[in-house]
Symmetry: none
DNA sequence: GGGTAACCGAGACGGTACGTCCAGTCTTCGC
DNA sequence: GCGAAGACTGGACGTACCGTCTCGGTTACCC
């Protein structure tokens, strides 16, 4: 089962890289809205068809570029305390935007695109939203195993709260997305954990979904 | 200080209403993306210039229509308990989307537009985001006066958390935005209040911004 | 049979003059194409309705302005010789364009408008084309009475040739419309007169239309 | 020196033909004024951009269509006599309008457009006006070589007179443009030739421009 | 001297065409 | 078969004018 390239010219890695880097560069420098397929093609020295052969829209190109850029980083620290872990994780996430000016705006633009194109919305969720959730979820589950967080805690809700607050500030421009927010959210999660533990003693461990990966059904209907 | 109409033909109220209702109807029925200036004009029986005379984009038209629709509702209940008040408020907010199918998608689309057009972003924040924040802020301040919520609480953060979670679920499609979420968030705020009270006893009442209207500086830098 | 103005506010002479002078001024300065009804109204300090009440189009306004301007001049000299009379008349006509820069271009623009609007074409012919023809026709008829031009001469054709050459040069920009042309055309008419006299002796005075006012039927079908 | 097509998709000949024929058909049937870019695009089944890629205005499209239509015809007869040659040439030219109803109106409309758009005026002169002049000029030069027309004759003036009279009648609607006119103008030119010959004997052969192609300087200043 | 009627300015109205931009597809040649 | 180049259809955009309308207000006459 070797991946025989089959007949014909193989895909050009150079073109692929040129497209991705051009898309990200233009989007960061001039704003995502001034990014057009024609412009990517022109600036990357590439035919438009070559782009359409591998991606369905400029949103997917940008997402791909972003995903590649972010592939390195997702690493969760282990400070021993839940609040500290969360804070460290968020702080690290926010730092990326700091070192890459304009990246946060591109991120917001993609969230905007996800509202217009359902196909892209799925991709966006799978490749950008979910991976982050899983990292934080891992941190929370580790806390559960340590006993810092009761088994009954609604992990999905906590994920939504943490990432929701972050996205809300980015999207609306209300409030900064910085280390202060990382600390605030870390402490909030920490307090919820403590509170949850008391609750778990009071209430006899109501069964909750172990995984928060799909929190679509996490709320009571 | 009457509003003298000035010279010239007065603005047509009929055209204004036709434009707003057409925009909202089309956006809800066929999706915000199939809403075009040409189509609003055609279906409202109106010249395009008449739209551009009073609004700058279809986003502003839709926002105006939405604002008018929402003008009635913002009423905060008073259940006597903070968690109950928050839950009631959110529940009521979510109900609007329930009774107006497609409205949530329009809302998300507008949040998307706000990412592309800074001028619209400002309008969107001022006319849709901030009014909701103020209603919830009033609830929180009432709780502070009742003593249910310590003076030291960071109201801005609480607002961000509550609305952030709601928007995050709407925008990503992860998790429902229903009465379950209203309850969860109400309880979370309630717990934060209790926790804050203990904290306020421990820490000697660090000065915090009284108003959370501008939470832009609410995080420690 | 006095022209009792009847009831109601009388027409504003000030507005009429402002409209005509504005139209001519703008058309001469910025070109006829940058003349719009809105602009006339704005620069003349007049409501658009006031223009439409008295004229049907900007072409008619301009024609009116032009007609008023030209009302003074049409005066035919009498040099005693046909060629001299024609040359003097044309020379005088061309001089008007010389002293009023941009006027020739406006004239050409009106000829252009006459191609698009049949109603205006009639007006244009009656108020600008025909009056000039009649002046020249009078000169020719005077020559006939003097015996300088045979009765059998086709006056209509001569009028067409003289004015046609002038208009052709103005419209195409080929060749100058100046005193040289006036002399050339004067001499040409003079020669035709002489030639016609010989012909009239040879051919036994075929009946020709006395008036060239309507040369529509002047050619043999 | 072959015309290598270069890279990229070659221009669509089908689209080019569809555009030209649609433009001419609509202009002839419904009048040049009801010809719009949108309509050409729609009826030709073509994107608007494709029209704008190759032409600058509907005037240029129509001119191109007209030019293609006229490419066949310009053929000068040789009757042996100057008057006959001119008459034959004009008669043939007028016949084109006869066999293609509405074509004369389109021609007049283009002359009108030339008054509004200097860029088009140049094109119009080069591609429609000048070619006709050159055919007649060739006839006149042939006459000069035969000795029917004196070397001293002002060819430019004769061209202006002949075409000027024709255009004047078309544009103003005064007088027919038919075989009668062709005969009248032929005879007029014939008489001028004879007259010129006498003059050339009297006056000692004043130097005149050999070519009348550019009669811009043909008149004495 | 109060009606009445036609005028006046201002400017919003429905509508048509414009010329541009971009999306997504198609068609050529060359590697 | 992939890739660069670039022309293609299609559709929305935002602007410019047109010719009409609807205000408040003015100016004459005529009873």
């Amino acid at each position: 089962m070797q991946d025989s390239p089959g007949p014909g010219r193989p895909r050009s890695e150079a073109a692929r890289r040129a497209i991705l880097s051009t898309a990200l560069r233009v989007a960061r420098r001039d704003g995502y809205d001034s990014l057009t397929m024609d412009r990517i093609a022109a600036e990357a020295g590439v035919g438009k068809q070559t782009i359409y052969r591998w991606w369905r829209s400029k949103a997917e190109v940008t997402l791909d570029a972003l995903r590649e850029l972010a592939e390195e980083q997702i690493e969760s620290a282990d400070t021993g305390r839940l609040a500290g872990d969360v804070e460290a994780l968020l702080s690290q996430t926010f730092a990326t935007s700091g070192t890459h000016p304009g990246l946060d705006r591109v991120l917001c633009a993609l969230m905007g695109e996800a509202q217009r194109d359902p196909a892209f919305a799925t991709l966006f969720r799978e490749q950008l939203i979910e991976p982050r959730r899983q990292v934080l979820e891992a941190v929370l589950e580790r806390a559960q195993q340590r006993g810092d967080l009761p088994r009954s805690a609604d992990l999905g809700l906590l994920l939504d709260v943490v990432f929701g607050t972050m996205w809300y500030r980015m999207l609306t421009g209300i409030g900064r997305v910085d280390d202060g927010l990382a600390r605030d959210l870390g402490q909030l999660v920490g307090r919820e954990a403590a509170r949850g533990q008391e609750a778990s003693e009071a209430r006899p461990a109501r069964s909750r979904r172990a995984s928060a990966r799909d929190s679509r059904r996490s709320s009571r209907t």
